[in-house]
Symmetry: C2
Subunit: 231 residues, 2 copies
């Protein structure tokens, strides 16, 4: 078969099979044709082949202090050591940048989750295992994100830690402030948390050791065929 | 040295040196400690080491029809074949999702570029070579994106095709509509395009063959030490 990208083989490259490019319809066109090149996109399938794992959105949800970010980062560490491409979206890298214009009103929190969902979708297309760690208290918002991607591309992981444990820990002192009325609309205190009823996984982050919770998530990924279990 | 992640070595993993984790301050703490784990983040440096190339933002700017998206995808194709991790942000994957709530008013176009800049930054942190293909006509907007990342992380590439060539091609028929007044604030016709005066690269996408333009961008990446020239 003629190498469509011959122009570049003068440099030392590993030539990967160009899945996603229809060779039959392209090979008779000039390499300089914009139309041809514009369609020679690197597809998600080619990225996944390159990465040797599938991409997925792991959506962690739960109360403030439930251990979402901790678990997401621990899972990421494990996946990185497996050789996977990963990224964690959480308050640290989203709240001051992409969503820096948003406050905490109901409308703004909704828009916050909508944007995070759409960014997750971009990472998904980029072949990355993206892990999101946001309270995301409402069914409707989580469902909206689930609906913008293909079935199976969104795995909801419920960090099922009781409000008692979260409040007892109160790592950031937020529950105390919320009880005193210093924070309005605080999830679990003055604003509802709608626990998932169809999460792909429920982990007891408040009661079980972290490594056990990490194993549960990794096992889910293996069951779903995201990770190459041969590696 | 004690392997900090011993708990996981029972599974078959390649252990990468955990750059970014301070072993001296962490090794005396329990593996289950949330505080420890939360700080055991996968850093950009570790991702770059894994990918065997550095991450960067390649910001393509130019008139409608100048060949930004075509060039960005052609460069991505080349980089993918080199074994790099890449992603192109353009109207196709951003306008209907992340920025689906935005119109074409001056304010909305500004917000559009701001969001794209921030998403680019996330991909940058994720170790990816991110290529953006948006007209981005204003100095101030491009400068704002440049300023949210470290010096050297943002390379501006001016797709320097004259308005005459763009209008002559008129692939999407937009110039004709703009001339008839059917599209308001159309860049180059009824709204200004502020050509970059400090772009890292200017490519004559309208006059030179695409492969030559691709080479120019690849050479820039080699000069800047983004690609491992040994590979």
């Amino acid at each position: 078969m003629v190498n469509y990208y011959n122009a570049y083989t003068r440099t030392s490259i590993k030539f990967n099979q160009t899945k996603g490019v229809s060779m039959s319809s392209e090979q008779d066109k000039s390499i300089s044709s914009n139309a041809v090149w514009h369609h020679a996109t690197v597809t998600r399938a080619r990225r996944e082949e390159q990465n040797k794992h599938k991409s997925i959105i792991l959506w962690f949800t739960g109360l403030s202090g439930a251990g979402k970010s901790t678990l997401a980062h621990a899972v990421e560490e494990q996946l990185h050591q497996f050789g996977c491409r990963t990224y964690v979206l959480d308050g640290d890298n989203v709240r001051h940048g992409l969503c820096g214009d948003l406050g905490f009103s109901e409308e703004d929190r909704k828009e916050n989750i909508r944007r995070i969902g759409n960014v997750s979708k971009l990472f998904l297309e980029a072949g990355v295992i993206v892990l999101t760690a946001f309270i995301s208290p409402f069914h409707s918002d989580r469902k909206q994100v689930r609906n913008i991607v293909q079935h199976g591309d969104f795995l909801e992981i419920y960090c099922n830690t009781s409000i008692d444990i979260c409040e007892q820990r109160d790592v950031k002192g937020l529950y105390e402030k919320a009880r005193k009325g210093l924070i309005k609309d605080f999830t679990g205190i003055s604003s509802p948390y709608e626990a998932p009823d169809n999460a792909e996984l429920s982990v007891h982050t408040g009661e079980r050791p972290l490594e056990e919770c990490v194993d549960q998530v990794i096992n889910l990924l293996k069951e779903r065929g995201i990770l190459n279990t041969q590696s």
